[in-house]
Each structure stands twice: as C-alpha cells, then as structure tokens.
Symmetry: C2
Subunit: 198 residues, 2 copies
C-alpha cells in the first residue's frame, strides 16, 4: 500500500476521495485502525505447490492470515511454473524467476496507484518492463564463482497522469521505497526448509 | 536445473535415461555444451506489466534471451496481481508477494525433478507449502523499525520416490543449494529503477 504518514488526512486538507480505482477513504481508515491495533498488521501468506512432470509444477494461493483472521481469495488462483525448452523443460509456464519479475512490477505498480490516489493525482497510464540477468553456470554447478540467482534486475516505469513529471516520478520513488518485493529482493529474507521424505 | 558435476555421466556409470518426465540425456548434453561455451549460460528474463485499475495490474512473459539468442515462450503467459479486499484491493489476482512464494516452490520443485532424474531416482510425489510472514506496519509507514518485506519464509516439502528417505532428502537439499529463487531471497540482488514520467 505504501502510504506514509504525510499522506494521511489532516484538518488542513480536503477529505480524500476515491481515485484511480482506489477507495482512498477506506485505505486511510485501514491505516488509522492498524495504527491503533498493530497486531492487525501481522499477515501470513501461503502457496501450496504440486509437482506434475519434469520441471513442471503448479501452485495455488487459496487463503492467507491477516487483520486478525483467515481470509480466502475471491478466485481460484493457480499458476504453473516450468523450465523452457532451451533448458530441457516443457515450457508449460514461465520460469520461477520470471514470476519474481512479475512480483516486483505488480508490487510497485499497486503502490503507485495507492500513493497517487492519496496525493490526489489521477493516473492515466503505468507501464513497466522488468529484466533480470542471470548466468546459469551458477545453478548448473559449472562455476562456484557465479551466484545461482539474478546478478541484477532493471525495471523501467512509464507513468502518466494529471501532475507534473517531477511529482509523478516522486510517486514511483515512494512506491519503491515502501515496496515489499523490492525489499525482499534487495534485502535478505531468512528461508527455512523442512523435508518430509517418508 | 541444479545438476552438479558429480551427477554428470562417467565411464563407470550407465548412460542416463529419461526419468520423471526429464530428458536426462538432453540435460546432460546441455550442461556439457555450456561448459565448453560459457557465454551460452547468459540469460536475460523479462516481464512487462500494465496497470489496470486500483492495485490491479497484469504482467506478460513473452520472450527471453539465452543460449545465444532470443526465445519465445510456447504459451501466452499473462498474470494478474492485486491487493485483497482486506487491504482495500479488488482481489483480481494474488498479491505480488504470494507470487514470490510460488516462485520459490516451483524453483525448488523443478530442481528436485532434474536432480532425481540425474541420480536415477523415480519420483512419485513432490508437494510443498510455502508461507511468508510480514508485518504490514512496514509498507504502511507506521513503523520505521519494521521492514517492508517478509520477515521470514518457511517451506515444507513432502517427497516420495523409489529411494531411501535419506537419499530423497539429499535431493531436496541439493535443489535448495542450487536454487535461483532461494538465492534471490536469501541473498541480495541489485535492483535499478528508471522512470519516464513524461
């Protein structure tokens, strides 16, 4: 959501109105409630995955915990992952690391819409291209000097709306600064893996 | 793919055969070629994203560069991302950070299938649940001490096949050790963002 304190309504400002498809009053109200009850901010997201064949598997995102309770998604969200033919896969879905690029683009874009709404800016377009460079000698075990993951990621955003370019650019920057996925990629997340092998 | 040197064929071993839906001979041949021509290992994956409304956006993964040239995916891979209703979104897709969980599960699972095939193990089941904990006070700007991204991720794998439990568990561990997404999450990736604001 990436709203900061200074975006919250103050007596000197007009009341926020819905904009960009964002229910700005509800968003501000949510932030106000979470400020009073910090435990509502604790969320636990989850995905279950099942191997199908070769490098092809399928994940489902059905439910998550947050705001003090369990929630179910409105749709049946299922996603395939696979390796492409050039890597001996069946290309039944994007590669896992392409989903990382989608995660980054959609996270920053969602933040842009929320922040623009909070700042009274009406958007007309937000588009982005995200690219990640990887040297497969890492995961192929050919070189110990090469890391397994992306060596770098570059994202290019194009944003248009009823505000000067500098203000639009600030909205993108604020979204980056508060993006969960940007933090996950540029920071470090402890990952624990448990195995039931029978 | 996550195959290591010790999985490669040696004169003392029988020739690898396809297994688990993995074309093991082609996989070994690919690794052999990349060892001789390291420049073939350089890949650049990409996603394009377009904002739709509110926190809803859609990404496409159409093509990527690798093995010395451009490649197109076999399918039309498009994915929606959104915020859920409890966060004032329209729930038109999973949250961006849920796609990160899918990326981790599908990456390690693809590696498991490849490594098992390389080691002559026939799999019957691989299932996983991946959970990520996040405190939204970070992205809401309510607390400066709370990070924006996941505080931790836990993945539980269940694996079954025609090998002892210890050998199956080793396959999961080897896949983790060579997973691109595991490295992306636990390491740090430089992310550069460019903005065209008109």
């Amino acid at each position: 959501m990436q709203i900061t304190e200074k975006d919250l309504p103050r007596p000197s400002r007009p009341a926020p109105t819905p904009r960009n498809g964002v229910d700005t009053p509800a968003l501000f109200a949510t932030i106000g409630v979470v400020k009073q009850q910090p435990e509502l901010a604790r969320f636990r997201f989850r995905a279950t995955n099942r191997w199908i064949r070769g490098t092809h598997s399928r994940s489902r995102m059905e439910s998550f915990f947050g705001a003090g309770g369990e929630h179910r998604h409105a749709g049946d969200f299922q996603y395939d992952g696979d390796h492409p033919a050039v890597l001996c896969g069946a290309d039944q879905g994007p590669t896992p690391i392409e989903f990382v690029l989608h995660a980054l683009a959609s996270c920053i874009t969602a933040g842009i819409a929320n922040i623009a709404a909070a700042r009274g800016v009406t958007l007309t377009a937000v588009e982005s291209t995200v690219e990640g460079e990887i040297d497969l000698r890492g995961i192929l075990g050919i070189s110990k000097e090469v890391r397994n993951g992306y060596q770098n990621i570059r994202a290019s955003f194009r944003i248009r709306g009823d505000a000067p370019a500098a203000k639009l650019a600030e909205i993108v920057e604020q979204s980056r600064a508060r993006s969960a996925v940007f933090d996950i990629l540029t920071g470090q997340v402890p990952v624990e893996i448990a195995v039931d092998a029978g």
